[in-house]
């Protein structure tokens, strides 16, 4: 790491495994939710939360924390699993996912959950919000960085590209994007629905610095996150090539587990595979 601290990749992999267990358990309990896109993004999030994200678990509302904007808000189980593993949420909180009054709302919501920085659910808005956070940090001469997690299907929204254009124009050197490039959206594979092509190239053409990475290789993820964190030439995008449903065989690359919870038998198999 740039700051000289040793990162134990094995420990991060273990944290990601425990997060995956949370994700399948909480969607199973809720009998609904989005396991596929949670499992594809979780390694990136662990690499980030486990290394350079400035976040104080005992004071999640700390004003000068780095921000993590989960723009693809349906992947809320990934967010809640991280907050659970970091001790911000407890087991009861995550197992109440999607039930009346639960702090774990269906889509991430900053008013309901400590440690959540954005109220999502409507795709295409998080990068703009992150840009607002980034511009404010600059106005305040704060060092805080803003990380935004986007879905690849989500980049079909025009507002993403409005924000991409504005971020470079306003020299948002503190803005970071991770695109969860799992090649599946709601109904089907992207190349069936609406293939967007080379997402990295599109960010580059708006003046961003871009790197691609294997979104499930923890040591590459740690490196790329570290690199992105210390870049300061402009906004940075990481395109993480991922597998939707990663870690649970029957969910992998399976569009039907975008928004479907595992049943009892599927949970049993999933937990076995994740043990």
């Amino acid at each position: 790491m740039g700051d000289g601290t040793e990162v134990d990749v094995g420990e991060l992999e273990e944290m990601a495994r425990r997060c995956r267990v949370d994700i399948v358990k909480m969607t199973h309990a809720a009998k609904s939710g989005h396991p596929g896109g949670s499992l594809s993004s979780i390694d990136c999030m662990v690499a980030l939360y486990g290394t350079c994200l400035r976040f104080d678990t005992s004071n999640p509302d700390w004003d000068d924390r780095d921000r993590f904007i989960m723009s693809k808000g349906h992947a809320s189980p990934a967010m809640y699993s991280i907050l659970h593993q970091m001790g911000v949420l407890d087991e009861d909180d995550i197992m109440g996912f999607r039930t009346l009054g639960s702090v774990c709302q269906g889509h991430v919501d900053m008013n309901w959950t400590k440690g959540v920085d954005f109220s999502a659910g409507s795709l295409g808005m998080g990068l703009s919000f992150g840009l607002g956070c980034a511009l404010s940090a600059k106005m305040d001469s704060s060092q805080r960085r803003i990380w935004v997690m986007l879905g690849d299907g989500e980049t079909q929204e025009g507002q993403i590209w409005e924000a991409a254009m504005a971020a470079n124009y306003h020299n948002a050197t503190n803005l970071r994007v991770i695109v969860d490039r799992n090649r599946i959206q709601n109904d089907d594979f992207m190349d069936v629905q609406m293939e967007i092509g080379d997402i990295g190239e599109k960010f580059r053409s708006f003046g961003w610095t871009v790197k691609e990475v294997d979104g499930h290789d923890m040591s590459s993820l740690v490196d790329v996150v570290d690199w992105a964190n210390s870049e300061d030439g402009g906004p940075v995008a990481i395109v993480a090539n991922t597998i939707k449903g990663n870690g649970v065989s029957f969910m992998e690359n399976n569009p039907s587990f975008h928004g479907k919870a595992p049943n009892d038998e599927e949970l049993r198999i999933a937990l076995e595979e994740l043990s």
């Binding site: 004003d63 919501d109 900053m110 008013n111 920085d117 954005f118 109220s119 659910g121 409507s122 295409g124 808005m125 998080g126 703009s128 919000f129 992150g130 840009l131 607002g132 956070c133 980034a134 511009l135 404010s136 940090a137 106005m139 305040d140 025009g158 507002q159 409005e162 924000a163 254009m165 504005a166 124009y169 306003h170």
Partner: protein, 313 residues
């Protein structure tokens, strides 16, 4: 016939209001290539470091504002009223739902906008924003009141939408210091009928009240600059003292000021209400007063509605 050249346009008041609160470092201004029109340009001239140009991209602007509000800023984002509507869902989900103090100003609202034609004449903005929980909805009638109400937004800890008008109208206030967000402002008192008006129709309501007084009908006239939360105490009081209402707005009769009164009166009273407003149709190009006459948004329209309301008492 064109718009009057004297008096004050509420959009100018917005611009002045921003300057009045500019010394608070939390205030930031967001523009979508219409700052010269909405009048945020004056703030930009003085405080370029706290002004963010987002280009012609309204949806992005709304969420950038939300992100800034979540980081301790008090953003004022403006464009034409009609183009804020492109970002309706962004306002609903990205600003209002989390309750962020973002203040949206939609200028050039209403038929009064004139020659640009129907694409620029928002007749539904007050209605759509009124349906969103947590939103405060304001429509001042002149520059003086717009300046005061804009300045008061600084202390409103939640989202708001303010509609301003493009063109000058006769001033209703010499000084706005008695105005309060959420309290209707009684401009004239009478016991036979209450005319509840907003925006450019407030001045028209005052003239109509004058005409009606010659017929022996004495009217209260209210500038109901805050459409939401609407001043139900004042409405309840006037329901008792006047016993009949007319609403007057440069906006559809569906869901705006008239709608707001109808909702409250019909569930709490049997007091008659007549509405003057746009009757579910689009405008067209033309001079402001020509268009207002064509659509019945004039003194005659208010007087007829007043007689109907009184006959239903």
């Amino acid at each position: 016939m064109s718009a009057p050249t004297s008096g004050g346009a509420s959009r100018d008041g917005y611009g002045k209001g921003l300057l009045r609160i500019a010394e608070d470092p939390r205030v930031v201004v967001l523009e979508a290539d219409l700052g010269k029109s909405t009048k945020s340009c004056h703030f930009r001239d003085e405080y370029p470091d706290r002004t963010v140009s987002l280009g012609i991209a309204e949806q992005n602007m709304m969420l950038v504002a939300a992100g800034m509000a979540s980081s301790g800023k008090i953003p004022f984002a403006s464009t034409f009223a009609i183009f804020t509507e492109r970002a309706f869902e962004q306002v609903r989900n990205g600003i209002a739902r989390p309750g962020l103090p973002v203040h949206i100003c939609g200028s050039h609202g209403g038929i009064h906008t004139g020659t640009d034609g129907s694409s620029a004449q928002s007749i539904e903005d007050l209605a759509v924003y009124r349906t969103i929980p947590k939103m405060t909805v304001i429509h001042p009638c002149d520059d003086i009141s717009a300046e005061e109400l804009t300045a008061q937004l600084l202390d409103l800890n939640g989202p708001s939408y303010m509609r301003t008008a493009r063109n000058k109208v006769p001033r209703m206030y010499e000084d706005g210091s008695n105005l309060r967000i959420g309290s209707g402002s009684v401009l004239r008192e009478g016991g036979d009928l209450a005319i509840i008006s907003c925006g450019v129709m407030v001045g028209v309501a005052i003239s109509a009240a004058e005409t009606l007084s010659n017929e022996g009908i004495s009217c209260t006239v209210v500038d109901m600059h805050t459409i939401k939360p609407i001043d139900v105490e004042l409405i309840a009081e006037l329901s008792e003292s006047c016993g009949a209402f007319v609403t007057a707005e440069d906006h559809s009769v569906i869901g705006g000021l008239g709608g707001a009164l109808a909702e409250w009166l019909s569930t709490n009273t049997s007091t008659p209400l007549e509405m003057v407003g746009v009757r579910d149709s689009f405008g067209q190009s033309g001079g402001s007063s020509e268009l207002m006459d064509l659509m019945g948004l004039n003194e005659a329209g208010i007087c007829e509605a007043a007689r109907r309301a009184i006959s239903r008492k």
